[in-house]
């Protein structure tokens, strides 16, 4: 405890700086007058009195307790990591790195065989594929919409509409994922199957397109929209994911955009720019790093989203190029099979999938946080 207070009570900064606390936190290194030593933002007199008062012991105990609470966050991350590593060891020993890379071939049908709990075949490739493809579809749909909403809310929206609209996007974030899944099963999937997919299939199977662009592998019967139209599948998962990650990306983008100083906007307008030119040159250009960060944060959410995906992705461990085909994602396979795992190896393999998911989302989130933090650092901390 005591080393967190100023070591030399009467040396420098005799008066408490009257900076707003949020600004102290935002600038990162608030009182670094002496290089190399971290001086906490309390006055020297105060810390001296605290260290020699008759309550010093009680204070130290209390501070220690609070420190324990804070350290519990490290403990949680550590415990999760250790448990996942320990429990996934059998599968790691049996399959090694090929768990994520290889597959068997079914002797009867000559089709690739990835995941067969009954016969003890566990290769996680289709889950990686499903997670990646559904998240990418979600990003492709959500990012332009989210940026549009953020631009509208920060730059164009009449003041009356701003409150209700941001409240609506917040509500979108508050809906539980199981309710999204329920809606997707009974509304979105039939809608896709009967209205949207036939149009997409018709476009992507145009003879001209197939003939001229067939070499890209995106068109025709083996293309992005070939095969049977069931409604369920990677596309449905991607669409519901995009609805779920939209509010996250939109609200963070909005935050980053409002962090752009008004002088930038005014400068652009004073030079005769139209509103869109001002947004493009002053706002979007200055906020681009933060926008990328918020998109990555949305990606992190999409990668780990479980229930809604498990309800519409179709749950079959296969890899097809078509977005209409059934798939499986890393989170959905755990949700579906974990509680009724047939063997210890099955459970261990599922935990290894979970470990991979944990590591990937930690990486993605850390990147995103650093990016968003780099942009909003200069502005006062905001209450969500």
């Amino acid at each position: 405890m005591s080393q967190l207070r100023a070591p030399n009570p009467l040396a420098d900064t005799p008066l408490e700086k009257s900076l707003a606390p949020s600004a102290v936190q935002a600038t990162g290194q608030p009182f670094a007058e002496t290089p190399g030593s971290e001086i906490p933002p309390v006055s020297a007199v105060r810390s001296y009195l605290l260290s020699c008062g008759s309550y010093a012991f009680a204070d130290r105990v209390f501070g220690g307790l609070m420190l324990l609470c804070a350290l519990s966050i490290f403990a949680i991350v550590g415990l999760i990591a250790v448990e996942l590593v320990l429990q996934s060891r059998p599968s790691w020993h049996a399959f090694g790195i090929s768990f994520f890379l290889k597959f068997n071939v079914d002797p009867a049908t000559h089709l690739p065989l990835f995941w067969d709990p009954v016969n003890g075949i566990f290769y996680a490739l289709p889950f990686l594929y499903g997670t990646l493809v559904s998240s990418l579809v979600a990003l492709v749909i959500a990012v332009p919409l989210a940026i549009g909403v953020a631009v509208f809310l920060t730059e164009m929206c009449p003041r009356i509409l701003r409150g209700p609209l941001s409240f609506l996007t917040e509500l979108l974030a508050a809906i539980p994922s199981v309710v999204y899944g329920l809606w997707a099963i009974f509304v979105l999937v039939p809608l896709l199957r009967e209205q949207v997919n036939p149009i997409l299939i018709a476009i992507f199977n145009q003879p001209i397109l197939v003939k001229t662009l067939g070499w890209t592998g995106l068109f025709g019967d083996n293309g992005l929209f070939g095969g049977v139209n069931l409604g369920l599948g990677l596309l449905a998962a991607g669409v519901i994911l995009s609805i779920m990650i939209l509010p996250i990306i939109a609200s963070l983008t909005r935050e980053v955009m409002s962090a752009v100083p008004n002088s930038q906007r005014e400068a652009a307008l004073a030079l005769g720019a139209t509103r869109w030119e001002m947004i493009r040159m002053a706002v979007l250009r200055n906020a681009r790093i933060g926008i990328v960060g918020s998109v990555i944060l949305g990606l992190g959410r999409a990668l780990g989203e479980t229930m809604a995906v498990a309800m519409v992705i179709g749950n079959s461990p296969e890899i097809h190029r078509s977005l209409l085909s059934m798939g499986h994602s890393m989170a959905s396979v755990i949700a579906n099979e974990f509680s009724e795992a047939t063997s210890d190896m099955h459970r261990s393999a599922l935990i290894e999938v979970g470990l991979a998911l944990f590591l990937v989302t930690i990486l993605v989130n850390a990147c995103a946080r650093l990016l968003v933090w780099a942009v909003t650092r200069g502005t006062p901390a905001r209450v969500q």
């Binding site: 949020s22 919409l145 508050a174 509680s339």
Partner: protein, 290 residues
């Protein structure tokens, strides 16, 4: 072409681009609002027509039979959430106090803050696996306790970060006034700083609560679900989101009906919590703290 003309066409072109961009932004907003209204409208329509008294008072009927309710799931959710809040909120507030009062500006605090943000993004299903291997495996039993622990872990980072931000809004003069009167530091933190910031801290706790109230994935293999009455800590217990999930993927129409009703109840609770929070924060009750 004379320069006057070029300038005019350029200007017209720029105006056109400006209007197009405005139109696209409005279109995007409409496209985002549309699914929300569709989801809410459909939910209210389906849910309200399926809600009845039996839903709140009876336990589920055997598969395929019509009728029954989710009384046990509602009580189960309350039990699991109580366990989660019981240790998620105190630890979270403690962490927030450390970040705001003791570790301000230190490297350790920055690391804790960053870890909390990252932990916030860890998928809930991974929390479920962790709670499974920490509690279910040693106890050899799925239990309400394990479900509560999984949800509680998810509450900690959210509560920590909001508590910290709220405490940082309390002016230093308030702290110094307390210390100047000879109040010990721990007492000043608890009775002065935390109390001043309490509306905001409660807001943060309710947001965290609302967030985990709808979580299904961590409960799938910790609380597991139960078709009968149970309030025991060491037994399987039902929860509202779990029951919704089980009914949504079942083949029976009557269970689909109940899934809609359950979703309406769940969402009403969550929206109430969120709007209450918004009401409290917008009414400026927090102004005393800033």
């Amino acid at each position: 072409m004379n320069p006057q003309n070029t300038r005019r066409t350029r200007s017209a072109w720029r105006t056109l681009v400006d209007h197009t961009a405005t139109g696209l932004a409005i279109l995007a907003t409409l496209l985002v609002v549309a699914p929300l209204i569709a989801i809410f409208g459909y939910l209210v329509y389906k849910g309200a027509s399926s809600l009845n008294l039996a839903f709140f008072t009876q336990i589920p009927k055997p598969e395929g039979e019509v009728g029954g309710g989710m009384a046990n799931a509602i009580v189960g959710s309350a039990v699991v959430l109580a366990v989660a809040s019981f240790f998620g909120i105190p630890i979270g507030i403690g962490g927030g106090i450390y970040l705001a009062e003791f570790g301000r500006g230190t490297r350790l605090a920055n690391a804790v803050r960053f870890t909390a943000d990252v932990l916030n993004g860890v998928p809930s299903i991974v929390m479920g696996i962790a709670a499974f291997s920490l509690i279910v495996v040693p106890m050899h039993h799925y239990s309400a306790l394990a479900g509560g622990v999984a949800l509680g872990i998810m509450m900690i980072p959210t509560v920590t970060r909001t508590t910290e931000e709220m405490l940082l809004m309390v002016p230093n003069s308030v702290r110094e006034a307390a210390l100047g009167l000879g109040v010990p530091n721990w007492r000043s933190v608890l009775s002065i700083t935390l109390k001043t910031a309490s509306p905001g801290v409660i807001t943060g706790c309710m947001l965290a609560f609302a967030r985990v109230a709808g979580e299904t994935a961590p409960l799938l293999f910790t609380a597991l679900g139960n078709q009968f009455w149970s309030v025991s800590m060491s037994r399987e217990i039902s929860a509202l989101p779990l029951q919704i999930y089980n009914y949504a993927i079942s083949p029976y129409d009557d269970q689909h009906r109940q899934a809609w009703a359950g979703s309406l109840v769940l969402i009403t609770l969550i929206v109430l919590a969120v709007s209450l929070v918004r009401f409290v924060t917008s009414r400026g009750i927090l102004k005393g703290a800033s």
